[in-house]
Symmetry: C2
Subunit: 342 residues, 2 copies
Amino acid sequence: MPDRLPEKRSRRNAGAITLREVAALAGVAPITASRALNTPDKVSADVRTRVLTAVQRTGYVPNRLAGGLASARSRLIAAVTPSTVMSVFMGTIEALNTTLFDAGYQLLLGQSSYSTSREELLLEAIIGQRPDGIFLTGILLPGKARSRLIASKIPVVESWDLTPTPIDMLVGFSHDAVGAAVAGFLIKKNHRRFALISADDARATRRADAFKAAVVQAQLPPVTQINIKAMRTVEGGRRALMELLERKIKFDAVYCSSDLLALGVLTEARARGISVPDSLAIIGFGDTTYGRDALPALSSVRIHSERIGELSAQFLIERAQGRDVPNPIVDVGFTIVEREST
Amino acid sequence: MPDRLPEKRSRRNAGAITLREVAALAGVAPITASRALNTPDKVSADVRTRVLTAVQRTGYVPNRLAGGLASARSRLIAAVTPSTVMSVFMGTIEALNTTLFDAGYQLLLGQSSYSTSREELLLEAIIGQRPDGIFLTGILLPGKARSRLIASKIPVVESWDLTPTPIDMLVGFSHDAVGAAVAGFLIKKNHRRFALISADDARATRRADAFKAAVVQAQLPPVTQINIKAMRTVEGGRRALMELLERKIKFDAVYCSSDLLALGVLTEARARGISVPDSLAIIGFGDTTYGRDALPALSSVRIHSERIGELSAQFLIERAQGRDVPNPIVDVGFTIVEREST
DNA sequence: ATTCGAAATGGTAGCGCTACCATTATGTAT
DNA sequence: ATACATAATGGTAGCGCTACCATTTCGAAT
């Protein structure tokens, strides 16, 4: 029976078992118990089992706040996303989280709510938690938040976009290329008069602009554009098509900045007896399950969403563990998936 | 000019500014600087501005690991959800996160991936971060994870379900009541022969069982049930309807355990020229945007998803700050939303 | 037997912050 | 003037862990 430890536990302690108690029970010094748990091969088999037994018996769960403070490694990775509901980013976040968890990291999730001021506050709060890495959906424009992040020296992955001047690492694809590719795809399918329904966020706008530029380049009539505030609803797409029709403009293909909007257009077209794709071709963005199995099945742009999350996680883990990432800027590309709607 | 601090910064320090440096710059003791930031009204106006100026100048961001260790308050709240992609829980998580952030808490997000063993690992990892509260989607069945959680004494909110014996707090609704209510609703609309398409998760199964029980109670013919593994796809719904039709069973209404499945049924019905709701009524669960604006618009069960998140956040904040929550078990109910598909 | 190096263990001193308990100014009643 | 509360500040001692630097043990090489 090991000696009893003094019972002088202060009121600050919530009553949790500490490593010290585990060590005492195993009959070793705290530092040895620490090694038995963190670097088991630096410890004899005998000590290892004794410590593990003591852990089992006591139900000890290491305090990562203390460990993180001592080692300057919190085992936390933060991710910032504008929103979580119906968000195209969640595939990435899920893959990120899974990969991180398997490597022993926890995910700290922040929502910027599409607001720059909120994003600044959020990043400050995040830096306060001293994460070992930060994942951003999108790229961070120059400003207070960006400077702060750089000053913090925390490894950063920006994503879902491309820039020659990332803060640190980058896993994404080119929205310009998407816009141009979609235009090229529709033109090749002999469409000539285009409408464009776009959410008013920065990346969707870049895709839209590239789309329009490609159409101009092909010397086709100018694109009619509708911007949508309620970007993550089907209703927005339905209303946008209504508006387009009211304007009495001719168009034979619509490119939508999200599958949700495209689904709305598809629905409204059916409500009005417009046949898709014969009278109107529709293509979305994101390649979601509700687009894929719609009737007619929606053509879309597939983003390698999970790949972005997984790769970003790997990069952050590498850097968190002090290793170098040889090629920290990756273009994962995209694929135009042709289905029945075009 | 304040005295220079010794430059003996060890390699463990990442180079971040510490409170000590801020205090020196402001010409006060570290503990006073701490108060100026955490309890500003316990400090003179003069000191307050001097410290704040020093913070601005240095770009100081408090180290929450250290603060958390010292005060036993990490300002972290953990949330556990089975999945994040296309998940019905994300409205709750978003509301939870927003409310928490505004109160100065960060969200730690864990995915249990519908696996009990993973959930156990996850909860252990979470407890290690010493969060001030834990939010669970669903209720935690008795087992190792549950015992651990109770032993940790961390405030817990279980959600999206009801039980007389929660671990601690609870914000949810009754799945039995949902199943019965949907059956009652369809029966009142003069449907008599029911099919049921259900994901094979525990809560969906409880809704399904209650639905069947209510149908039996009304002395109507037994319900034909199809269970779906690919629960979060439209395709699952399409295939399920095909299967039902192949079985040559008669039915005039289908209840689906999610809107995504219901959308699949709606789509497949249209593909086969089955008129909805005349020949077949369809009702889903979750009241999503793609159901709401489908054609015909999908009837569904609306869950007060954001309310669950917001209320849970409030409960956890109260408890994290040492206050009591008078009524910690709340049934937020649900609403059957009748649209065109029934 | 001696030397040496590697393997295993331990001691000490923080990590950066805050709880707790002084101590010192400042005001207020007597 | 004195006593005494109150506000404002500071000193000290950890929180629970790990980096860093001993020290001890033990087998292999000489």
